[in-house]
Symmetry: C2
Subunit: 187 residues, 2 copies
DNA sequence: GCTTTTAGCTAACAACGTTAGCCAAGCCTG
DNA sequence: CAGGCTTGGCTAACGTTGTTAGCTAAAAGC
């Protein structure tokens, strides 16, 4: 009785939403099937398995991250672009912790793997921020890695409640933006 | 036939070593039992279950991280201490990716949870680095979070092969130390 | 030396991912 | 429009993994 009208994109989208709700570790095929009003084995007509599902969720997440950052920095440059980019990134991770978690440890199989392409787009959005600073060619890659590490580290630590004590996290984040901005202008 | 002579510490140590070898995601109770020359259910005499095991591995990892950083910075201050600390941290994560992964997402249940205590010790080691800089009291927490985010982000991205293209990762890391050192002296 | 605790074992079960094989709904062609 | 083909759902079944129950023999204590 083919009536549910699923397709791979719908399954992946529902999987991503469910991962955000219950956490990636609790994203089970049975739970996803139930959410879609279908029996578990039916999912295998659309995705190859759980590993494939998570990989596709990662691709979706990276695509959304790239769009979010790219959209946020439009019309801005320098410190404004930096702030917009990292705020957009952090907001995405906090709103969509499950799908973002899918991107961690997902290794592209080759340069034309969709994972690599969307990942490259996300990194490109960060790279656009750096063009607003006067950074020597040889330093751009290092600065980009710094930006990624800081964004990823801060967002994941916060998403996992890694910051325990006193000081306000939003305040720390703004402090961090100022810190990086000063540093990049002095490079 | 109680002869294997296991105890919780031995099980946790073996679990941590195994996690480093095969990855935390592939750390199965059966595999660990086999490694210890014992049948799977016997492990439950020493740890309450897989969740408990991973939690204890996280405590062990945090304790080792704290010792590694604490030891590395002894006798150093300022930039030397900063470099020693983050190098020790990164080396630990790269040598022990499995046990470090156990610390991600482990939430302490209360302030006297061993997890919180060892985590606090590790953070304290980073905090010691900051005392070598002239940072205002109100900025210390922010700087500490920056340091943690950067260390965690860089190390985990590298451990997951998150840095894809050209530039040398070690070079980026040294660049990053210089970047943070300059920034902290200008705070 | 007898009792009690402890630490191993076997057997069994539940949850989950996955595969095989069936069958009806929708489409495509003659 | 009829018949076949493709598709997307289904049930049944299996392997793996985590976990519990209950037994037993080695060690520890009186």
């Amino acid at each position: 009785m083919p009536k549910a009208g699923l397709d791979p994109a719908a399954v992946v989208a529902a999987g991503a939403a469910l991962a955000d709700e219950v956490g990636l570790a609790n994203l089970t095929m049975g739970l996803l099937a139930e959410r879609l009003g279908v029996r578990t084995p039916s999912l295998y007509k659309h995705v190859a398995g759980q590993e494939d599902l998570i990989r596709r969720i990662a691709v979706l997440a990276l695509s959304e991250v790239a769009d979010a950052i790219g959209g946020a920095i439009q019309g801005y440059a320098g410190r404004d672009a930096l702030a917009a980019a990292v705020r957009a990134f952090r907001a995405f991770v906090l709103e969509h912790p499950g799908r973002y978690a899918a991107t961690i440890g997902a290794e592209p199989s080759g340069p034309d793997d969709p994972l690599a392409m969307e990942g490259g787009r996300a990194i490109g959005a960060f790279a656009a921020v750096l063009r607003g600073y006067e950074i020597e060619e040889s330093d751009v890659d290092h600065a980009l890695r710094m930006l990624r590490s800081l964004s990823h580290g801060f967002a994941t630590l916060q998403a996992n409640n890694g910051f325990q004590w006193s000081a306000d996290v939003d305040e720390s984040f703004e402090w961090l933006i100022a810190f990086v901005d000063r540093g990049l202008r002095a490079v």
